[in-house]
């Protein structure tokens, strides 16, 4: 009904030709954009008000941020390859690629954990200053969404292995792409705009 690949839809009934699950997912992603947008824009505006944050931002580990961007981009690639494998009916390969995506998420969290440990050990805690408050809140909330994405992807991978709910491969993949897009904006804002 909707695309050429017409994977069976979670809801049989659709008046607009778009699967109901996908309509709901796009609305959910829009509300996520609103939440993260509000938070990131508050940070941007406070950043314009406090040019002196550049020194504080210099203490973030830019290399780790760049590595995490590479990790997330790669896991996004796995997610979209999993989706295209599912559309061609190869559920086994889709399931493996989804597990690879979850692996990417794990690597991301480990790098993040190292970063947090490094920063907090140097005394930069969320209560240290306004910049660190924003830094830990933004990356922390993003981290929570990474964990949520990983659980969803794992559930979808297990279902795909049993050849059930093929639509889940696409929807969890799309949620993962949004988490990646948010990181694409977080990375320059927090890590790059710092080398003073």
């Amino acid at each position: 009904m909707s695309h050429a690949h017409a994977a069976p839809l979670p809801e049989e009934r659709t008046s607009t030709g778009v699967a109901t699950g996908k309509v709901a997912l796009w609305w959910f992603l829009a509300s996520e954009v609103a939440i993260f947008g509000g938070l990131i824009m508050s940070y941007v505006v406070c950043r314009l008000a406090h040019p002196e944050w550049a020194e504080e931002a210099a203490h973030t580990v830019s290399a780790a941020g760049a590595l995490n961007t590479v990790v997330l981009l790669t896991s996004s690639l796995f997610a979209v390859l999993a989706h295209s494998a599912a559309t061609h009916g190869d559920m086994k390969k889709a399931s493996n690629l989804l597990f690879a995506t979850v692996g990417g998420g794990l690597v991301f969290l480990c790098v993040k954990a190292y970063e947090y440990h490094h920063e907090i050990s140097e005394g930069f805690t969320p209560v240290a200053s306004l910049f660190w408050g924003f830094y830990f809140f933004m990356t922390g909330l993003h981290g929570v969404h990474v964990v949520a994405g990983m659980t969803a992807l794992t559930w979808a991978a297990l279902k795909a292995r049993k050849n059930e709910a093929p639509w889940a491969v696409e929807y969890t993949g799309m949620y993962w792409h949004l988490v990646d897009v948010i990181w694409i904006f977080l990375f320059p804002l927090v890590y790059l705009a710092s080398a003073s």
Binding site: V33, A34, G37, L73, S76, D180
Partner: protein
């Protein structure tokens, strides 16, 4: 598998864009560089949303949904930037310690002067403790007259609660060390003892 090859090409493009902006990251000084970094980030975001999430293939009104969320956030940031970003009329937070150091350096601390203390009390303390020292029956502050335990405390103890503030049963005494110099606080205490408490 032509689709997969396309995705890998896009993935490679994303990595290239990342390293370009990393390279630019070294000279973040001027605004043009920061601008290009964010343009690169926007392009990367569009690549992921359009290609990986297939937004390009979706129905037009679904694209409007995503655009609507972005438009709402743009309206938000345009509305607050002139006010919060430029911090219209903000006073840079001056370190409190400096105020004290300046005064003490000049004049050595004199013993509490009741007459000057009366002026300080009449300006700063009367709001909560009231002219008669009863703090509206003990509702908005310590009642010096009826509650004799208050003034039974030592000078040092009372001076710290004036300077640092105190959260007691009735409510919170604000810290006065920012607004009042040490001399003024000593004078105020002398006035309070002279007028309300038994010496």
């Amino acid at each position: 598998m032509s689709h997969d090859k396309k995705y890998i090409v896009i993935w490679a493009a994303l990595l290239v864009a990342l390293f370009v902006s990393l390279g630019l990251g070294q000279f973040v000084g001027n605004a043009a560089v920061v601008g290009t970094i964010f343009v690169i980030a926007a392009v990367k975001a569009w690549l992921v949303v359009a290609e990986f999430m297939h937004l390009r293939l979706e129905a037009r009104w679904l694209q409007l949904v995503f655009a609507g969320a972005l438009a709402a956030i743009m309206a938000f940031v345009i509305g607050i930037t002139p006010d919060v970003a430029h911090h219209w009329s903000v006073i840079p937070p001056k370190p409190e310690a400096a105020a004290d150091a300046v005064v003490v350096a000049k004049k050595p601390l004199e013993p509490g002067n009741v007459e000057r203390g009366g002026k300080v009390y009449g300006t700063y303390c009367v709001g909560c403790h009231a002219v008669d020292g009863k703090a509206n029956g003990g509702t908005t502050g310590a009642n010096f007259v009826d509650d004799t335990t208050r003034l039974a405390k030592t000078d040092a103890e009372l001076l710290t609660s004036i300077a640092e503030g105190k959260t007691g049963t009735i409510g919170t005494m604000p810290p006065w060390k920012g607004a009042l110099t040490e001399q003024q606080r000593v004078d105020a205490l002398a006035y309070v003892r002279a007028t309300f408490g038994a010496k």
